[in-house]
């Protein structure tokens, strides 16, 4: 059911940011599937995270109640989002910050670029941020001569490798340490040529590389994991400490945050700070939780700007079934359990949001027609729903979006014909007798025409039995 509302929120604009597939999922997936190194890297990483996460979740006796609480807080938040955002704006302003409203990626990039220029900076350091990846902020900054420096280790690997992130939490999950060593040797001007591929050695090299940037850069751009409406407090959780450096060292801090990240009260963080680390990294608590409220004279950044980003989110909110996707806390648990993600990798999804949540979020942010193959990039096995710490029913949203996706004409005709036939038992029985597919297609159906040839490329069709069940029943 597609409804058009005049004056309703619009989807994310084309030509900016990273939300749209360049090619349909099946074609993009083929590259990942054909890369054995990538398959091994992904399998190793997701299997390890799955096991770690499963173990620490099993320690919590009230995990299901926590999930339900997280889901309830999010549902409540979405039900009164405008009110909460205005409350957040008032609280941030009262604490000495400045709030900007960006309807889409273009506007958000313009706001951030303007703020960096006004601060007189030609370089910004960045905390890992999905929102700024989504809007293509790095490209927008580079276009006006501002150098963005990613400070998250994995984001740095991706940036130096001129690559794209392929996982929400572990953007360089598709790389192994030998590949990372090569990237560092090639791209870090002052790196020790004797660099080994030991993880600790690689991390130390990145740390040395970034240290000078931390100390000499006056503007930082961050995302936000949460924003508390009642106090105007922003929160970033991370593992490396680079985030805390970015959030405390510069003079100006600019946070770009999707409007769905707001939570009503400080108390609500209690729920999410338990759910997020266990579901995402398999840790009991994340190593660094940084929170800040406006500015404090003489301590930390002296100018704070909060950019509230819509970029299609209001349109998602308007969809009764799909709006649950906005509950996502970006833990990436769904990626780590998804059999499709594990084999194709994140790049196949063509968006900064890969995996099951990407398959429902990206098409909603852009409009389904612009990401029409993503809702089909799932076998509907349901592992993502079970893993989601805020109980987003991803399979139901996938099915819902499939109904909204444009359909190939031949498929639509076949589906309509099949439904008609199956609604007429006599026709259906006749069709059963006629449908000796394997006889049409030769032995074991190996010669079926497209699109069914996709099946017979790797699988035999069953030999149709001489008698259907209903024939047998009628004769018994």
């Amino acid at each position: 059911m597609t409804r058009t509302f005049l004056g309703m929120p619009t989807t994310a604009p084309r030509g900016v940011g990273h939300l749209r597939e360049g090619e349909p999922f099946p074609a993009a997936a083929r590259r990942g599937l054909a890369d054995p190194q990538l398959r091994r890297n992904l399998r190793h990483a997701t299997t390890t995270i799955r096991a770690k996460s499963g173990a620490v979740i099993a320690e919590v006796p009230d995990w299901q109640q926590l999930r339900a609480a997280g889901s309830a807080v999010k549902a409540d938040t979405m039900a009164r989002l405008p009110e909460l955002l205005e409350q957040l704006e008032a609280a941030v302003t009262a604490a000495g910050g400045t709030v900007h409203w960006a309807v889409d990626a273009v506007e958000a990039n313009r706001i951030v670029t303007g703020l960096v220029r006004a601060a007189g900076a030609d370089r910004v350091m960045k905390v890992k941020s999905m929102a700024t990846q989504e809007i293509g902020l790095n490209e927008a900054l580079e276009a006006v001569g501002i150098e963005p420096v990613e400070t998250d280790l994995a984001e740095l690997i991706v940036q130096l490798g001129r690559d794209k992130p392929s996982h929400i939490l572990v953007p360089a999950i598709h790389r192994n340490r030998a590949e990372i060593r090569e990237i560092f040797l090639r791209e870090m001007p002052d790196v020790d040529p004797g660099l080994t591929d030991e993880p600790a050695v690689l991390a130390a090299a990145a740390r040395r590389h970034l240290r000078e940037t931390f100390l000499s850069t006056r503007v930082a751009v961050s995302g936000a994991n949460f924003a508390v409406a009642e106090t105007g407090t922003l929160a970033v959780v991370e593992s490396e400490g680079n985030g805390r450096m970015c959030l405390t060292l510069p003079e100006t801090l600019i946070t770009v945050m999707g409007i769905e990240k707001v939570v009503p009260t400080w108390r609500d963080l209690e729920v999410f700070l338990q759910l997020l680390p266990r579901a995402s990294t398999g840790e009991r608590m994340n190593p660094y939780t940084s929170m800040w409220t406006g500015v404090t004279p003489g301590d930390g950044p002296q100018a704070f700007h909060l950019v509230l980003l819509d970029n299609g989110r209001s349109a998602v909110l308007a969809d009764e079934v799909g709006r649950q996707a906005l509950h996502c806390i970006r833990c990436s648990a769904c990626l780590n359990v998804c059999p499709v993600y594990e084999r194709t990798g994140g790049h196949a999804y063509g968006s900064v949001y890969p995996g099951p949540i990407g398959a429902v979020l990206s098409p909603q942010l852009t409009g389904v027609a612009d990401n029409a193959s993503l809702p089909y990039a799932s076998s509907l096995c349901g592992a993502c729903y079970d893993a989601c710490p805020v109980m987003i029913d991803i399979p139901s949203i996938l099915v819902h979006l499939r109904a909204e996706a444009p359909h190939p004409r031949a498929e639509a005709a076949a589906m309509a014909a099949a439904a008609y036939t199956m609604d007429h038992p006599a026709l259906y029985a006749a069709a059963q007798r006629a449908a000796k597919l394997s006889r049409l297609a030769g032995p074991r159906g190996r010669g079926l025409p497209p699109p069914l040839s996709g099946w017979t490329a790797s699988r035999d069709l069953p030999e149709p039995p001489p008698q259907t069940f209903r024939q047998w029943w009628a004769q018994r």
């Binding site: 084999r343 089909y376 990039a377 349901g382 069914l452 699988r459 069953p462």
Partner: protein
């Protein structure tokens, strides 16, 4: 008990043995099986491919055909999942609240085979005999939509002669997913390859499941590999008895000689 059989279109057309075995098993346990002949398909393929409006007529038919029955069984976790979780959604989408609540009622009394046996008929030892090494693939919709848990395994453990081999990564999807196997054939094949690797690692001679669709997929792959592992529906194992096993061997001897 009088039990209506929802055969499912796939079992009816391509895997009638699974449905015949369901009938044989339930009759052997002393129940009456009825087959409403106006039934066709639950419409799952339509819903999952994005055609809920086309599925609506199949939901109406299903509700009309099965409304008179107190207990309905299907030898398929995914079709029961569709009846229980999708029919009401399809009806509500079309604005038919009355149909939705009738569909919900029918969903509540429609059972997958292992649920019917263990929860309703309260039996785990059905008196079966199946002298083979068997591994069991739990199927996603039985596992996650219906939450059948270990019911199929409890039934299999009570089968005489059966040696149960644990399937590594059992809960991972086999990659079928209805039209997913066609629309994303390469990804589906990669998932199947891992499932087959795990099946072969068990050294079982039979891979069983409660869903003809997953069996068609895994069986199609194993057949292409000429792996020598048979796929068999849970119902066929539970319906097997010592007498049938003897008769089967006798028949095979006669064919050979």
């Amino acid at each position: 008990m009088r039990i209506a059989l929802f055969v499912t279109c796939l079992a009816d057309t391509l895997f009638p043995e699974a449905a015949r075995a369901t009938v044989r098993l339930l009759e052997r346990l002393g129940h009456e099986v009825v087959f409403p002949e106006d039934q066709t398909c639950c419409g799952q393929m339509h819903v999952n491919t994005g055609y809920p409006d086309e599925a609506l007529r199949l939901v109406r038919r299903h509700v009309r055909v099965f409304a008179p029955f107190e207990v309905v069984v299907a030898p398929s976790g995914s079709c029961v999942g569709s009846v229980r979780h999708q029919h009401a959604m399809v009806a509500r989408r079309a604005g038919d609240e009355r149909l939705a609540s009738r569909a919900e009622e029918i969903g509540r009394r429609t059972y997958e085979l292992s649920e019917l046996l263990v929860d309703v008929l309260r039996v785990t030892d059905v008196g079966a005999y199946f002298p083979h090494r068997v591994t069991y693939h739990p199927t996603c919709h039985s596992l996650r939509m219906l939450r059948v848990g270990d019911k199929p395994l409890r039934l299999l453990r009570a089968v005489r002669g059966l040696e149960l081999a644990e399937l590594p990564e059992a809960e991972q999807c086999c990659g079928f997913g209805g039209t997913f196997a066609v629309k994303n054939a390469d990804t589906s094949t990669a998932m199947l390859a891992d499932k087959m690797r795990n099946v072969l690692a068990t050294r079982a001679d039979v891979c069983a499941a409660g869903d003809a669709s997953c069996l068609m997929h895994i069986g199609g792959g194993l057949s292409r590999l000429r792996a020598g592992v048979r796929t068999v529906h849970l119902a066929e194992i539970l319906a097997s008895t010592e007498d049938e096993d003897r008769a089967g061997k006798q028949a095979r001897r006669e064919v050979r000689s």
